[in-house]
């Protein structure tokens, strides 16, 4: 097997400059990839995944240096080649797809030129030959109307299409090995499903080896044959995919699984990994995970563990499994998921008979008293053009949305990017405007209030933003940030009382009191999100709009934040409007779900209604596109064709009819009225008239 492998990496080490010293970011990484095999590397950000990929291409940034190791591709050591020799390898034998399609295409070159460049370099094709080959490539990556797309510029393409063009470019040299670095992270779920499907088909057809880098265990479960877990520059576990998902060995891998939110953990605290990935250069001696490991014992802090083979295809870097020194270990190690009960509950039942959820939902039913009502909310932004800036059209970001949020409940607003869900959140806080419709907060109408009239009501409704790096003013100390709202809304009038309140709030979100004197940049992403939550809680709101508060965070940190939000809801009887695209979070946290498509809510119901019995074809497709972190559940997906149309020119009739599999004649003419399916479940679709 060793000799047959397509790519063989041994002891790869990359150093990066840290001030005056150099520290390893990738430290002794070894793995093999066979022809036609997908090998996935998972891990949190800052673990050295992307650097490993760049090192294989010998494209490490200027501050980093390939120190040692070997990379054999089809028997040739890439690290021994000259730069000229390496250029022959790149594209022809080893190609790469990057994370962000928007920045990986040159905006001033047409698609044909960009792919043609590669063709000329790799195969010496020019002129009509190159054009024909480009066309064939675009067809291969499933771009509709490829003839027309050839002469378009990247800005004329959607995100998914750009990623397809990137893949076409990577395939142009007919590589033996494809490196995909988070190829779908910047894309929506339905588009992600299309791209993953494409990659799978292409790989099967061409017998390519593929190195897939991802942080999403769901994607890994669907795509990979073998999985490596990376932590702090080292591979800590390698296993076949079924073996790995059934019985992970390394405590870090176990923790990653346990931190995933889903239905089976509803109502319980998610497992979290204390602390965060140590930054490059501060990696501890001994086992690098020891400080965060629940099973760590004396030896872990003294000596770095060796790789231990569990079976022929399963290795782990952990002292717990080492043959010697068994007498010191606390208990006997076991390769299994910590959340085994959860897995069984999930695979056996999923949503079909989840008594747990029903009970919980019922419990809440009696206390259902609405705090926030939005009726027929519309936000149309004018498009101005011409010399005099006349209004020539409008973007219907939100187009008649009605919502009800009850006290102590969580309403999840789900949908893909551009569907207007964030605008709804901002409109509820009157941060964008003017709009039309009605928003009633605790009986008071918000729409049309002036800035001054709105101020006393701002106490009741607040927002937590998506990006904790942009939502805190970098020039203000944490204490000032938290007390600002209290001062402005006169929640706590005196400065000394405010200081006390700040300390209490910091304690509430699990931060030490001295954090108040520090600046936001001294904190990690998860800690910053805690600060943002504390700032919001400071004014004691009833309703909090959470705009994807965990999408910028790693899985283990996401679990901490979700736990905190759930705990606060229970303690303070808060209502959340939870804007998200992550269905796992919805399953874990939400009571009601509203699915948005192009500015309108297409389906609304309790979480059980939507997840157990989705009716709208869009909801069905959306749910089936979500990758499930369980290789046993690889199922046929309902692939949605095409992409979300622009809200400036919504299609006539039902907005979804262009992509809908069950489209009827009436759908093209008339937007469907909302149909009440049950007391809690309504849908806007002609199928259910």
């Amino acid at each position: 097997m060793m000799t047959a492998s397509l790519l063989s990496v041994r002891d790869l080490r990359v150093d990066i400059n840290r001030g005056r010293r150099r520290a390893p970011v990738v430290d002794g990484v070894s793995f093999d990839i066979n022809e036609g095999e997908t090998f996935a590397i998972v891990g949190e950000s800052g673990c050295g995944k992307s650097m490993t990929a760049l090192a294989l291409m010998r494209l490490v940034p200027a501050a980093a240096r390939l120190v040692s190791g070997s990379v054999h591709l089809a028997g040739r050591d890439l690290l021994e080649l000259t730069e000229g020799g390496m250029r022959e390898v790149r594209g022809r034998e080893l190609a790469m797809i990057f994370q962000e399609p928007n920045t990986s295409l040159n905006p001033v070159l047409t698609v044909a030129r960009q792919i043609g460049e590669v063709l000329e370099r790799q195969g010496g094709l020019r002129g009509n030959d190159a054009r024909a080959r480009t066309l064939a490539l675009l067809d291969a990556v499933g771009i509709a109307d490829a003839q027309r797309r050839l002469d378009e510029y990247p800005f004329q393409l959607s995100g998914g299409m750009k990623q397809r063009v990137m893949i076409a470019m990577a395939l142009a040299g007919d590589p033996k090995m494809l490196i995909a670095d988070e190829p779908t992270t910047a894309l929506d779920v339905t588009i992600q499903a299309q791209i993953l499907d494409l990659l799978r088909v292409l790989q099967r057809e061409r017998r390519m080896g593929m190195l897939l880098i991802s942080h999403d265990l769901g994607i890994v479960a669907e795509m990979a044959q073998r999985v490596a877990v990376m932590y702090a520059g080292e591979i800590v576990e390698v296993a076949g995919v079924t073996e790995f998902f059934a019985a992970p060995c390394h405590p870090y891998a176990k923790k990653l699984f346990a931190a995933l939110p889903d239905i089976s953990r509803r109502g319980a605290l998610l497992e979290t990994i204390p602390g965060q990935v140590p930054s490059v250069g501060d990696w501890p001696a001994g086992c690098r995970f020891a400080a965060r490991c629940p099973a760590a014992f004396g030896l872990c802090r003294e000596r770095a563990p060796e790789v231990v083979a569990i079976s022929a295809t399963h290795t782990v870097r952990c002292h717990l499994y080492a043959a010697s020194e068994t007498q010191q270990k606390p208990g006997s190690p076991r390769c299994a998921r910590d959340d085994e009960a959860g897995v069984f509950a999930k695979s056996a039942a999923t949503w079909q008979s989840s008594a747990l959820v029903d009970g919980e939902l019922d419990r809440h039913h009696e206390s259902k008293q609405s705090v926030l009502d939005a009726v027929d909310l519309r936000m149309h932004f004018p498009i101005r053009g011409g010399l005099l800036k006349r209004t020539v059209g409008s973007v219907r970001a939100v187009d008649g949305v009605s919502l009800t949020l009850a006290r102590g409940r969580t309403l999840a607003l789900v949908g893909e990017s551009g569907c207007g869900k964030t605008t709804v959140g901002k409109a509820l806080l009157q941060l964008v405007g003017p709009g039309s419709g009605s928003i009633r907060l605790a009986g008071r109408e918000l729409m049309g209030l002036s800035r001054r009239e709105m101020r006393p009501l701002r106490r009741k409704i607040q927002m937590i933003f998506q990006d904790p790096f942009a939502s805190l003013n970098p020039r203000m100390r944490v204490g000032e940030i938290i007390s600002e709202g209290m001062a402005a809304l006169q929640v706590v009038a005196s400065a000394s009382l405010r200081d006390q309140a700040v300390h209490a709030l910091l304690a509430q979100v699990g931060l030490p009191a001295e954090a108040a004197l520090r600046y936001p940049h001294e904190f990690s992403g998860g800690q910053r999100q805690r600060i943002a939550i504390a700032r919001t809680l400071a004014v004691q709101p009833d309703v909090i709009v959470c705009d994807e508060p965990t999408s910028a965070l790693d899985v283990s940190v996401q679990a901490q934040i979700l736990n905190l939000l759930r705990e606060l809801q229970e303690r303070l009887d808060l209502s959340y409007l939870f804007i998200t695209h992550n269905f796992a979070v919805v399953e874990y946290l939400a009571h009601e779900v509203a699915v948005m498509y192009l500015g309108r809510i297409v389906e609304f119901g309790s979480v059980a209604d939507i997840l157990r019995d989705p009716r709208h074809p869009y909801t069905v497709a959306l749910l089936s596109a979500v990758p499930v972190p369980d290789p046993g559940q690889r199922r046929e997906r309902l692939l949605l064709a095409g992409e979300t149309p622009s809200p400036a020119h919504p299609p006539a009739g039902c907005h979804f009819h262009l992509r809908c599999a069950k489209v009827m004649d009436i759908c093209r003419r008339q937007y469907p009225e909302s149909t009440q399916l049950s007391a809690s479940h309504r849908v806007s679709c002609h199928l259910f008239k």
């Binding site: 933003f465 003013n473 970098p474 402005a488 004197l517």
Partner: protein
């Protein structure tokens, strides 16, 4: 009283600025994050060396900003009934201390350290015959014999004396500093000394103890050395030579420092409020405010700057010339022209900073922390002052220093065209302007350009270095990464 204080407009403004700086410094001492930021600046060696050099320039410039007219009837006008008469000439503290430079005019050009003029002239020989030769200077090297054979030895001896004096003064400064530090920290002198040079770190030190005293001392050493050499040489020679009318070039260069500082500082004082208010308002409120501000700065920046300045300066000149009664002395007149130049430069050069700030504000106001501030119902004023302005300060700071150097250079260009400062005002611009002719003549006169260049270079370079240090300390992204 033996003198009449004269308060020129620029003096008033520059001292106001100094007062403002002092107040700001006191405020910064009280404010913990600001103090920490400045402590960070204090730890930057390059920055502190630059600050030392800059401080010397400031001392020169400020001492040139205290003006007075001395009494001419002096001691014999003792009877109080007579109104005292004062000289028409306005002098400054700097003039007073540089008396020996100022009052020793030669006839025309002479090279640095020369004994004779640069041009041949009719010379009366001792026997009464006349011949064309390079005449001896009246003051430069007048203590030497006619042939000036021992000039080399004399210069060497002077240099050695200067070196010794510089070393002495520097040692005294270093000793005083060590003493002061050891008194404050309560430790042995040797320990303080070692710590100044970073040979030894005190346990658990922080903030002030890391202050880059070594850089300050090193820069001070350099400055003292240069100063001592210049002082020693200029006692008997013209260290930088003389210009066309025989004025000492070193004196001109020192006087130019004030003009440069005034142009650089007062112009930014005019430019700053305009650029910051308009830029932030345009970016924050958008809609018609933005349109208005954009039209304004597009219009202004599409008029050729030099023409606009020329027109304004000429109009100002007409006003000044037609109202001679407003000014008691020619110095006051020149000063008003200098001030108006600052105003005009400020009015025309705010556009680029304004555009920059507008763009940045547009970007900032989309950020989530501004949205959060709106969600808390903060007033527009508070959002601008607390959230937007502090996040623009590094841009303001950087562009200010860039502008400072550019304005000093702009002054030179404008004086070249003849619409700069008053011809009687000594400035780097007028020096460079005259150097244009001097470089074209044969043999070439290079020293006045060299003097202006090296002074300006030192001034602008140290300002830039200090600004870099300040930016490193206050830009959160940079401060966070280090």
């Amino acid at each position: 009283m033996n003198f009449l204080p004269v308060l020129l407009w620029t003096d008033l403004l520059i001292w106001l600025l100094v007062l403002l700086l002092v107040v700001a410094a006191i405020a910064a001492r009280r404010n913990e994050p600001l103090r920490r930021g400045w402590a960070h600046v204090g730890r930057n060696r390059g920055g502190m060396a630059a600050a030392t050099v800059l401080a010397v320039f400031f001392v020169v410039g400020l001492s040139d900003s205290v003006h007075f007219r001395s009494r001419i009837d002096g001691a014999n006008g003792a009877n109080g009934a007579m109104p005292a008469n004062y000289a028409v000439e306005v002098r400054s503290l700097l003039d007073l201390s540089l008396g020996h430079l100022r009052n020793r005019p030669e006839k025309s050009y002479s090279e640095p350290l020369a004994l004779r003029l640069y041009n041949k002239d009719l010379v009366q020989l001792p026997d009464g015959r006349q011949t064309r030769d390079y005449p001896r200077l009246r003051y430069g090297g007048s203590h030497l014999d006619e042939q000036g054979t021992e000039r080399g030895a004399d210069v060497a001896a002077t240099l050695a004396r200067a070196l010794a004096a510089a070393l002495l003064v520097w040692s005294a400064c270093a000793a005083l500093l060590t003493l002061g530090l050891s008194r404050r920290q309560g430790e042995r002198l040797a320990a303080s000394w070692r710590r100044i040079w970073g040979w030894e770190c005190a346990a658990g030190e922080s903030g002030e103890s890391n202050f880059a005293w070594s850089a300050v001392l090193a820069a001070l050493g350099g400055v003292l050395l240069v100063a001592a050499i210049l002082i020693a040489l200029s006692a008997n020679y013209h260290a930088f030579g003389t210009d066309k009318v025989g004025q000492d070039v070193l004196y001109l260069a020192l006087k130019s420092v004030r003009t440069a500082l005034i142009i650089g500082l007062l112009t930014t004082l005019v430019l700053l409020p305009l650029a910051v208010t308009l830029g932030i308002m345009a970016g924050y409120f958008r809609s018609w405010v933005d349109d208005l501000v954009q039209y304004l700065y597009t219009t202004i920046s599409s008029i050729p700057g030099v023409l606009l300045i020329a027109a304004a300066v000429l109009m100002m000149q007409v006003v000044i010339d037609s109202h001679p009664q407003w000014f008691a002395t020619s110095a006051e007149r020149a000063d008003v022209r200098l001030l108006s130049l600052c105003l005009i430069l400020g009015m025309t050069s705010w556009t680029s900073l304004c555009r920059l700030l507008r763009g940045e504000t547009l970007k900032l106001s989309q950020l989530e922390f501004i949205l959060a501030a709106h969600a808390f119902g903060l007033s527009h004023r508070r959002i601008i002052v607390r959230h937007i302005l502090p996040n623009l300060m590094h841009i303001v700071l950087i562009s200010l220093v860039m502008d400072f150097s550019q304005l000093v250079l702009a002054e030179a260009v404008l004086s070249y065209v003849g619409i700069g400062v008053d011809p009687s005002t000594i400035s780097f611009g007028t020096m460079i302007n005259s150097a244009r002719m001097e470089l074209a003549r044969e043999p070439m006169v290079w020293w006045s350009l060299a003097a202006a260049f090296s002074f300006m270079f030192a001034l602008v370079l140290s300002a830039n270095l200090l600004a870099d240090a300040v930016r490193d300390a206050f830009d959160p992204q940079i401060a966070g990464s280090s």
